[in-house]
Amino acid sequence: MAGSDATVNGTPAQGTSVQGAAARETSAPDTVKILIAGGFGVGKTTMVGSVSEIVPLRTEERLTSAGLGVDDLHGIAEKQATTVALDFGRITIGRDLVLYLFGTPGQQRFWFMWNDLAIGALGAVVLIDVRRPKSSFAAIDFFERRGIPFVIGVNGFHGQHPYTPEEIRDALALPEGTQVLLCDARERESSRDVLIALLDQLIAASAKASAS
């Protein structure tokens, strides 16, 4: 977490010094998370809420930019920390497994601090508003650079989709193989299908990795 060098290089530091406590634990479920990213007002919290079994909750998390090398790019002195609001929801997968969905902060100026949030995530959904797709560029760039698996969810305004996935893929110059899914973040089934597409992608990647 905050200021820990061990957490910025992609290696989860959780659980290293509490193994004794964890070993005594018996009934707590395993937890995993998926991030819902994208520009401000693109529908992240709406998507979280449409599939979550609880009304989305909000918490504040302290994020740091430690060790990301942003100083050179932006002239930012030393490391920075800021507190951002996160909206999240929960999906109980089974008695022993719970999935959390976290809506990442929409403010672009905090994109370089998402590392803390991305650690330990299965992957991400980057939501795009077709009326202003640029607002989600920072999120796409972030996950692409860090090799975090993601799919693009095109959230139609009032469920309208004026462009095809191919048109959007071309317009955004997305990396080859990036899944683009038209969705309506207000609809449970639609949001669920975006998440399922992400999982299918992860499963395919995992199968490929274990086959090679």
């Binding site: 406590a21 479920p29 995993v32 909750l57 504040e60 990647a205």
Partner: protein, 118 residues
């Protein structure tokens, strides 16, 4: 950079943590699960009202992010208090499923199937 507002709101919660601003452990992520130890150890430590609230909320396992949301306190403040409770053996901690590198197929399939049931 984020303005004085956030800093201003943090002042009061940090009085709950005796002025400390950082957890001594980095073991508490958003989705780390905590559970109150039942029964509590016989040798009690002083419990502030906020500590007692946490213990009530984690009678059943609960993720730290949920705890923070229910307490209406920032994660950073809640983790400090959880450190206190962990040090006093009042809670147990269950770390998230590690997924660095390639997550295992069973886990992914389980999540996939769970989503399919929604």
């Amino acid at each position: 950079m984020s303005g004085g507002d956030a800093a201003g709101r943090l002042v009061r919660p940090f009085t709950l943590t005796g002025g400390r601003t950082r957890p001594d452990r980095s073991d508490f992520s958003l989705i780390t699960t905590v559970s109150a130890v039942d029964p509590p150890p016989a040798w009690g430590v002083r419990t502030q009202p906020e500590h007692a609230r946490i213990l009530r909320l984690c009678e059943k396992p609960i993720a730290v992010a949920e705890l923070a949301a229910h307490l209406d306190l920032p994660m950073s403040v809640v983790t400090i208090m959880l450190c206190d409770l962990l040090a006093a053996d009042r809670i147990t901690v269950h770390p998230p499923r590690p997924v660095s590198g390639t997550p295992d197929m069973d886990l992914l399939q389980k999540v996939r199937d769970g989503l399919g049931r929604l």
